[in-house]
Amino acid sequence: MTDPAPETGPRGTGPFDPPGIEWTHVSPRLVTARLLSTGITLAVPAVGVIVLLVLFPHWWQWLVLGVLALLGLWAAVLVPRQVRAIGYAERDDDLLIRQGIMFRTLVVVPYGRMQYVDVQAGPLARRLRIATVQLHTASASTDATIDGLEPAEAERLRDRLASRGEARLAGL
């Protein structure tokens, strides 16, 4: 958890910050969405353990609760920074997506290589008015997902990517 580098890093330095790129960031409501889903995932076992604790108290149940609480705390610290680290940039011929703090990734997807674009929003995401845009190329290893976009921005991006893809369409 020691992470000396700030989320965005100094401008134009490091391999994950190519010079001259203006990153667009995603909606801060994604923090709420991710924290809520993490919270639910942690709350289900926590409730189970608490029920057990009431019925058959034992010392290890406290341990489990403690671990769950630590995980929750960790998520609360990490998730906002993770969300702030997500960025994308539309260049003339390709889309750049940057993710992660500890494990960083940067993906460059040429528009001409796009096979299709997915826009998804689950019930929680819809309530929070965010959507996910995913780009698919012919490669299964292309992990080009932008989470937490405003619905209008997601639609704009989808249409824009689709039209750019068509203009630069190539075979495989």
Binding site: D3, A5, G14, P15, F16, P18, D93, D94, M102, F103, R104, T105, L106, V107, V108, V109, P110, G112, R113, T137, A138, S139, A140, S141, T142, D143, A144, R168, A170, G171, L172
Partner: protein
């Protein structure tokens, strides 16, 4: 282009009537295996499944299931038909749920003629057309008479190449007739229409130039020098040791399956890669191999997405290499490990391996390709061509930090890696799907990053590990530009429809 001919205009063909038999027998084979396994498993406990009157009941059951299977296959055969037009192949299948599939010929990634063992007895073959649509997206036409399958393959390849082929009339386009005459001379076993079936499409088989053949001796030697053999021998020795040491024969039964796994792997490698021959033709790369099930593959030009040359530790002595490819339609093997479709050369000397690479990329775009490739195959540290991991990466990757590296030519990106299992991956610039950069916390501490090229599903995942961050960033940037440039100048999907290639050159 959008004025697709109405489906009513198509001439629909049925596949060969023996198809249900060839397909249906697998059901019986599976049943026999299951019964056999159950019987064998029961034997140690003194229960014989085939004891008394039970054996004929089981036999009757197998027969009944076989008959039902055969009936269903026959029904399925009746409902299966295919048709070919200038732009696509149509296939209608399904008994209850009807399906009509249309595969566009300009999206064709590879054409395979496959003959399973039983089909060979009947002289039948299955035609597999691969398109880049993920798992199970291809079109399988089977079974057809062998000559018919070959003829159809040539016809489809000619159409996919953009040549107009005379159809349903013996004197077709001039190019096609000339081709038939030439092919008759050059290809005695080729697909010259023998009978005068009027509906048979006419297309000559493109002449081919043999490149490499792998003899059975070399194949066996290569398999003996593989990790699986080492595993097999060690496993047998271990079992023998335990049995002798503990004097309990039961260990044999529990440990045998694991050992047999290695044996099965070696066996499937042997049968799959037996009699391997590669050739080059205007239709692309031709590969033929197989002992029990034979497969004859055609990969049209520009369909290979990435090439990998690989050498394990036991192949170092004779300097043998294995060449794999990524082809969009083939995807990853589903039967785990023994992928015989994506192999361009199962085993060969360095020269043969480089010849296989040449099949894919005749021009590497560098003045001295041999020196560059030699450095890529067996070189260590930065040399004349390769940019490698910095010295500080040795703590992250103590074995292969001196091998990890990349170089760029005018036509392709060349990635090198692996100390024990040496590998060299070549990705043509125009075949780049997307690019990626990864960095974990440790890598950041050492200021290195891993660069990846995303290729279509297949055995190869091109990667250059632990490059200097600045090198990786520069490579990402310039490679994106190079890939864009190369795509803009890439050849057409219909590979024969080029101004500089006259039609007659194909025949």
């Amino acid at each position: 282009m959008n004025d697709a001919p109405a489906t009513e205009d198509l001439v629909w063909h049925r596949v060969h009537p023996v198809t249900p038999l060839v397909r249906g027998w697998t059901v019986i084979a599976v049943l026999l295996v299951v019964v056999g396994q159950q019987t064998l498993n029961g034997l140690p406990e003194g229960e014989n499944l085939l004891e008394g009157d039970r054996w004929w009941m089981i036999l009757l059951g197998i027969l009944a299931v076989g008959l039902v299977g055969l009936g269903y296959s026959a029904l399925a055969w009746r409902m299966t038909s295919y048709a070919v037009d200038d732009e696509s192949v149509h296939l209608r299948t399904g008994v209850l749920f009807r399906q009509q599939r249309r595969a566009r010929l300009d999206r064709l990634q590879a054409v395979d003629v496959v003959q399973p063992l039983l089909a060979r007895f009947f002289g039948l073959a299955e035609l597999k057309l691969e398109v880049a649509g993920g798992a199970d997206s291809g079109v399988k036409l089977g079974f057809l008479k062998e000559a018919e399958a070959n003829r159809l393959r040539n016809d489809l390849l000619a159409r996919a190449a953009g040549l107009r082929v005379g159809r349903e009339r013996p004197a077709g386009a001039p190019a096609a007739t000339a081709g038939v005459a030439d092919a008759a001379v050059g290809e005695p076993d080729g697909a010259v229409p023998t009978g005068s079936s009027a509906s048979a499409p006419l297309a000559p088989e493109a002449p081919e130039q043999p490149v490499t053949a792998v003899g059975p001796g070399r194949l066996v030697a290569s398999l003996l020098r593989s990790g699986a053999t080492v595993g097999l021998v060690l496993g047998i020795l271990a079992i023998a040791g335990v049995v002798v040491g503990t004097r309990e024969i039961g260990v044999l039964f529990s440990a045998l399956p694991a050992v047999l796994g290695f044996g099965g792997y070696l066996f499937s490698r042997f049968t799959g890669e037996f009699g391997f021959r590669s050739a080059i033709s205007p239709d692309g790369i031709r590969l033929r191999h197989g002992l029990l099930e034979t497969r004859s593959q055609t990969i049209p030009p520009g369909r290979v997405q990435a090439v990998r040359l690989r050498q394990g530790p036991f192949w170092r002595g004779p300097d043998w290499w294995r060449v794999d490819v990524n082809v969009a339609g083939y995807g990853l093997s589903t039967d785990g490990g023994t992928d015989t479709k994506s192999v361009l050369l199962p085993v060969g000397t360095r020269d043969e391996a480089l010849a296989a690479l040449w099949l894919v990329l005749p021009d590497l775009g560098t003045p001295d390709p041999r020196a560059l490739l030699d450095e890529g195959l067996s070189g260590l540290d930065a040399g004349e061509h390769f940019v490698v991991s910095p010295r500080r990466a040795r703590l992250l990757d103590p074995l292969s930090w001196r091998r990890n590296g990349f170089t760029v030519t005018d036509r392709a990106l060349v990635l090198r890696g692996g100390r024990v299992f040496r590998s060299l991956v070549v990705v043509p610039h125009e075949r780049t799907q997307s690019l990626g950069l990864e960095q974990g916390p440790l890598q950041r501490r050492f200021d290195v990053a891993t660069f990846a090229v995303h290729s279509t599903p297949g055995p190869i995942a091109p990667k250059a590990a632990h490059l200097d961050s600045a090198d990786a960033a520069r490579l990402l940037d310039t490679q994106a530009a190079r890939a864009r440039e190369a795509r803009a100048h890439a050849g057409p999907e219909l590979w024969m429809r080029r101004d500089d290639v006259p039609l007659g050159e194909r025949a």
